[in-house]
């Protein structure tokens, strides 16, 4: 018997809990359960047999935590091999299958935790290879979409066994890392899971709404393995009886669930009741409707109405952006991301291609960083297949690939990647002969792309066609051809359409007016995905207004949310009376930027910095020191200076002038420590004083600090640690800097540090707060 044959039966019955049975069999508290497969194989075999006798057709090996991290030095291969041997011995003489069970690693993945996606993949890969003799692989009890993606990829790439994936949801319909049911379904089905479902955390009654939603969102067989109700927090005992459990499971049957089992608190009795109750039942046909959609873990964007794709993360024609890429300045890119999301973008396009930089490395870094601060899905934009694949690997959720065109070669390279990673894809209606003039010819290319994509197994709803917008000033007659093609693709092929709009007005005055009107026209022709600059109010507004007027935005809710609550704040002082000092003192960021722009017309940049920004900051600093103002106000002031600095920096880049640099400072949160808000405040303040800050981030290796100091010839290093447990790392970092005899001073700070301790571990300075780090920098770098 193999899994695919088993699926042809009316139902598939899984086993119940392993942990509950181990405790009943006398496992000691604190023992590593997976090791029992080696030390007490009979105990495990007996449990498997009890489930098989109760009616289970698939048993899960006792390997839930059999990973490098949890086994604590024991061999993964040894433990898993023994577990599979035990499973095989239990199923001998039956048709039952043995599933290699893989649970969470037990460490949180990046960005919240420290474990990288790539490390997680390696950990799972080791388990998959060790479990090669199983009949199938089960990845279960996952709460983090990123972790289950790593596990599923590891399974698919290192084995040919079928894979069942189940995640754990709470009553709020999300996993506790915030993953929604739709994001789970889209991502796991896209990555090629063979069955998906829900296990653990709640009883069958509480899980009903979660399973109901899932059943409507996937074409795969659905698995359900609930707990025996909810545990009593005082006693840890579960509250549902085997019979009640089985009765509840009948409700899932009506939803079209195919695979049934039990999780925590269930025993062979539960599985017996379950198989008895299902025995003479007929399966129900499942109704599902998979809409076109892309997602991040917490946010699914259905393409069932016009959506805005922010186009700003793209260096083309933007000097400041190009400079940021050359400097590896990820904060600049993240700022672009957040700004667009606040402005109303539903999806963000990410393009970091620039000659002379390592696009692949930058793309991986950007995707991870943008996903760490926003929930909008991303559109991966590159012409290099290798870059696309790297991005598809590390993307958490289901992205869009931008793009393929009608040329066979690009389709043959890129479409298999789109299929493998379960993405949506944009097809450009051009080929080796360029962009056809006529709508009919563009339609033909769209059709060709669709056929090809379908042949690779990509679903129709995941193909979006870009009929390409030409410049109206040079090809005026082509404008309507584009729109006509949009309508044809939409109506005749039934595909979603996408269009980059801004190009239309190139070379014309008042571009915004043309862009805005063209966008509205395109929407009426059926455009679904609008690639625009969402920071331009009239563009975002056009989409919102269209949705209202075409009865998509029911009761104008979205529209009113966007515009109804606008506060007209009363300026305390008239605009003309505000100077840069007043702006900084009162935390008026926008005024600060505006005034700086004006000042730059009459003043030299260094004059503004040295005679205005710094004295104003000094004043705020000394008021902070004297207890006249507190941390929030100091940071508000710093924020204004930061905005002013941005304006200055932009001007310098545009003028091709040398950047402001009063000296380089390397800062880091030490190895093992991930609390970095304090370090980030220090960074903002130091930058405001014109220092170039090389921020190495958090959890930074000792050697990495040394390398950065050498490479930048920095004369000052700032180290931060927040926990007593990480002070040792601080000391080690200082020691390594000293061993390398680097000519630099070291300042340290952090909640648990004291001046005495700072001296003891060899630092030159102790900074009690961000303000003091500036004083130290002035002293050292004067």
């Amino acid at each position: 018997m193999v899994f695919s044959e088993l699926l042809k039966k009316n139902f598939v019955i899984l086993d119940g809990a392993m942990g509950t049975m181990l405790q009943k069999s006398g496992m000691e508290i604190g023992e590593i359960p997976e090791l029992l497969g080696i030390t007490n194989p009979d105990m495990i075999i007996d449990i498997h047999k009890a489930y098989i006798n109760a009616g289970a057709q698939i048993i899960y090996t006792n390997t839930f935590g059999a990973n490098r991290h949890k086994l604590n030095g024991h061999s993964v291969n040894e433990v898993i091999s023994a577990a599979i041997k035990n499973g095989k011995s239990a199923v001998a003489g039956t048709d039952c299958l043995v599933a290699l069970d893989i649970g969470p690693i037990g460490q949180l993945l990046e960005p919240t935790g420290k474990l990288s996606f790539e490390e997680a993949y390696d950990i799972f890969k080791e388990q998959v290879i060790a479990g090669k003799d199983a009949d199938l692989i089960v990845i279960e009890t996952m709460t983090d979409l990123y972790e289950i993606k790593a596990a599923l990829l590891a399974a698919k790439e290192n084995s040919s066994l079928p894979v069942m994936c189940t995640m754990t949801f709470e009553e709020n319909m999300r996993t506790f890392t915030g993953c929604g049911v739709s994001s789970m379904a889209l991502t796991l089905e896209g990555l090629g899971a063979d069955a998906i479902g829900i296990n653990c955390s709640l009883g069958p009654r509480e899980l009903y709404p979660v399973v109901k939603e899932l059943c409507g969102l996937t074409s795969l067989p659905v698995v359900i393995k609930p707990n025996a109700g909810l545990p009593d927090p005082l006693t840890n005992l579960y509250d549902v009886t085997p019979h009640e459990f089985a009765e509840h499971m009948l409700e899932f049957l009506k939803l079209g669930v195919k695979i049934f089992g039990g999780c925590c608190g269930t025993t062979p009795e539960f599985i017996r009741e379950l198989s008895d109750i299902l025995k003479d039942k007929k399966p129900h046909e499942r109704k599902f409707n998979i809409l076109p959609a892309v997602c991040s873990p917490a946010n699914t964007v259905f393409i069932d109405q016009p959506r805005i794709i922010g186009e700003r993360i793209n260096p083309t024609g933007k000097k400041v952006f190009q400079q940021a890429l050359k400097d590896g300045n990820i904060d600049y890119i993240l700022n672009q991301a957040i700004e667009q999301v606040h402005a109303g973008a539903d999806i963000l396009d990410v393009n970091v291609g620039l000659p002379g930089i390592d696009e692949k490395a930058m793309m991986i870094r950007t995707i991870k960083a943008v996903q760490s601060v926003t929930d909008v899905p991303l559109q991966i934009d590159s012409t290099v297949p290798e870059v696309l694949e790297a991005a598809l690997r590390v993307y958490n959720g289901k992205p869009i690939v931008n793009s393929v065109n009608g040329e066979a070669e690009t389709m043959e390279t890129i479409l298999p990647l789109v299929k493998k990673y379960g993405a949506a894809v944009i097809g450009l209606t051009l080929d080796k002969n360029g962009i056809p003039q006529k709508a009919e010819a563009r339609f033909e290319i769209a059709e060709k792309i669709m056929e090809k994509a379908l042949s690779y197994g990509i679903k129709k709803q995941d193909i979006y066609i870009d009929c390409l917008c030409l410049t109206a000033s040079t090809e005026q007659e082509a404008v309507l051809e584009t729109l006509k093609a949009v309508r044809m693709v939409k109506e005749k092929l039934g595909l979603k359409t996408i269009l980059g709009v801004s190009n239309i007005s190139f070379g014309l005055p008042n571009r915004e007016l043309i862009n805005h009107n063209f966008l509205t026209m395109a929407l009426t022709y059926g455009l679904d995905l609008c690639i625009i600059n969402p920071n331009v109010d009239s563009m975002t507004g056009a989409v919102r207004a269209f949705k209202l007027l075409s009865n998509i935005d029911k009761n104008s809710i979205e529209y009113i949310n966007a515009y109804g609550g606008e506060k007209i704040s009363q300026p305390i002082k008239k605009e003309a009376d505000i100077d840069i000092f007043y702006a900084i003192e009162n935390g008026l960021k926008n005024d600060g930027a505006r005034i700086t722009k004006e000042l730059l017309e009459t003043h030299d940049t260094m004059d503004i910095i040295n005679n205005m920004l710094i004295p104003a900051l000094d004043k705020a600093g000394s008021r902070f020191e004297n207890g006249k103002i507190f941390l929030p106000q100091l940071i508000l002031s710093a924020g204004v200076a930061q905005a002013a600095f941005e304006v200055i920096k932009e001007k310098l880049i545009k003028d091709n002038a040398a950047p402001v640099n009063k000296g380089k400072i390397v800062i880091a949160t030490v190895k093992g420590d991930i609390h970095d808000i304090g370090k980030n405040i220090v960074k903002v303040l130091l930058e405001n004083y014109g220092y170039t800050v090389i921020d190495l981030g958090r959890d930074v290796d000792y050697q990495c600090v040394v390398d950065a100091v050498k490479e930048n010839n920095a004369k000052l290093v700032g180290l931060s640690a927040l926990m007593t447990t990480t002070l040792k790392s601080m000391e080690n970092t200082i020691n390594l800097i000293r061993e390398n005899a680097l000519d630099c001073k070291i300042m340290v700070g952090g909640a648990v540090l004291t001046p005495d301790y700072a001296l003891k571990i060899g630092a030159d300075y102790y900074a009690k707060d961000a303000k003091e780090s500036v004083d130290i920098a002035k002293k050292v770098l004067s």
Binding site: I29, P111, F176, S372, G587, V684, T725
Partner: protein, 224 residues
């Protein structure tokens, strides 16, 4: 299920370094916004178990559980208690993400989110204590004591989390350097007894942070 309706502003002011004063209007406005956003976005996760206490020699132990009550201070603290509650609580990854995102272009809000979250997780702990004590109406309780206080070692954190299945049940994990992740999380134990609690004096003497504490430097304390 615990869900907070509001967050204690006075605590937030204190965490932000305002001693007895109230922040200006602008800062108060940001605090209100941060409070509203956090209340809307986060649902705290927590788990607890109550164990019987037993005395083995001079040491207090949890019955049928690994020995996590190491050190003199925790033993002293739980002296005479018949039951011991062990709990863990977290504001989840969502809070980390909110704070992380605000740091990109709105540092004032980031700092305020951070402090509002500190106040929130403490309130969650207060609510957990109340919830536990509902099952013990006749009993009194000690205040909560966390690993890292006094000589109650941080090193038991891992065993404590596993004891109540916190990684699996609420997604609370530990790094090699014994940091809890998600960041806004607490683990603690408290004693439950029919006896009268002899008010042990809470003071800074027991605290490892006493030398560097910003509250102490400012002539106040954290409120214990």
């Amino acid at each position: 299920m615990i869900s907070l309706k509001s967050i204690d502003k006075n605590e937030v002011y204190r965490y932000l370094g305002y001693k007895d004063s109230i922040p200006d209007e602008k800062v108060c406005e940001i605090i209100d916004e941060c409070e509203q956003k956090l209340l809307k976005e986060i649902s705290p996760r927590y788990i607890y178990r109550v164990f019987d206490a037993e005395k083995v020699g001079e040491q207090i132990k949890l019955k049928n559980a690994p020995d996590i009550l190491k050190g003199n201070d925790i033993n002293h603290h739980l002296e005479g208690c018949e039951k011991i509650a062990v709990f863990a609580a977290t504001l989840t990854e969502k809070t980390d993400k909110i704070i992380r995102a605000a740091q990109i272009n709105d540092m004032p809000s980031a700092v305020i989110f951070d402090r509002v979250a500190n106040a929130a997780i403490e309130q969650v702990c207060d609510e957990i204590e109340k919830e536990v004590m509902k099952s013990f109406p006749e009993y009194n309780q000690t205040w909560r004591f966390s690993p890292g206080y006094g000589d109650f070692p941080l090193e038991i954190q891992s065993e404590l989390l596993n004891l109540i299945d916190a990684p699996k049940k609420i997604g609370l994990t530990l790094t090699d350097s014994l940091l809890l992740i998600p960041q806004k999380s607490v683990t603690a134990v408290f004693g439950i007894t029919k006896n009268k609690i002899i008010k042990k004096k809470q003071s800074c003497n027991i605290c490892n942070l006493r030398e560097s504490c910003t509250f102490r430097k400012g002539g106040t304390h954290c409120g214990f």
